[in-house]
């Protein structure tokens, strides 16, 4: 098995607020992230595809195709957007790194040949990231 990873970067704003909690609880749970005007990050997304190289092309997946999928599904949806208000898939969810990574997984999985999407890693900053795998498919490569 060979693992191929493509990286893209996007910038977006968000805020954390749970309408089921009081204003005071929201501030306590989410701290600065609860600022009602939002704040932003430079996100780095790493998408890993697993597979055997095609015997003719030598490729696990054509990077050109992956680049187009990432541009269409992720960049156009999220880059320079306010995640809470402009990304329909995040409606009703708190746009934490974990939840955004899951949404990205669910957007990419149908676009990529069956079973080949291995990992989505989303960095919100250099020191905070979330990894998403299909349950049970996380290999030794981690």
């Amino acid at each position: 098995m060979v693992y191929l990873t493509r990286k893209v970067e996007f910038s977006a704003s968000h805020l954390y607020h749970n309408p089921a909690l009081s204003a005071e609880e929201n501030r306590r749970v989410f701290g600065k992230c609860n600022n009602p005007h939002g704040h932003g990050h430079n996100y780095t997304l790493e998408v890993t595809i697993a597979g055997e190289p095609d015997p003719v092309t030598g490729m696990v997946l054509d990077l050109k195709d992956l680049k187009e999928i990432l541009e269409r599904e992720i960049m156009q949806r999220m880059d320079h957007r306010f995640l809470n208000y402009e990304v329909a898939e995040l409606k009703g969810q708190i746009p934490t790194c974990e939840n955004v990574a899951r949404v990205i997984w669910n957007l990419l999985e149908p676009e990529i040949p069956q079973g080949r999407l291995h990992r989505v890693r989303l960095y919100e900053s250099a020191d905070l990231f979330a990894d998403c795998y299909r349950n049970g498919a996380k290999g030794a490569e981690g």
């Binding site: 954390y16 749970n18 089921a20 909690l21 749970v29 989410f30 701290g31 969810q93 708190i94 746009p95 934490t96 790194c97 974990e98 939840n99 990574a101 899951r102 997984w105 890693r121 250099a126 020191d127 905070l128 990231f129 979330a130 990894d131 998403c132 795998y133 299909r134 349950n135 049970g136 498919a137 996380k138 981690g142």
Partner: protein
Amino acid sequence: MSDPLHVELGRRYRFAASHRLHSAQLSEMENARIYGKCNNPYGHGHNYTVEVRFSGAIDPDTGMITSLADLDSFVNERVIEAFDHRSLQDEVPAFREAVPTTENLCIEIFQRLKSFPKATLEAVRLEETSNNSFEYAGNHEGMLP
């Protein structure tokens, strides 16, 4: 229904510490040959970066696997305060016997963090310098040698 996706939260922390690689089971000459500059009797130091990954269910109220404040305070107390600006072999009990290589340090950090109550520790990855890194996922029987 169980979640079809497995999600992990990764967080990076930094500390600076000194160490000396020296095994009591080896002669002076063997220590010098095996560890080279790292056997300098006065020790030397590194800026370490420790990356931890935890898994768990995402709490629907917060959207998080764990509160970052809880995680940060746990890691700070168990690892950063214990190691930062310290001499590993002189000040960390595990390294009175074991050689404080970054392999062993990675295992020691895993042992210190695996009891985090809010999420499951998946792995510790430790960068000794930007060129050397070590990862441990708890698949090693027993404690430090």
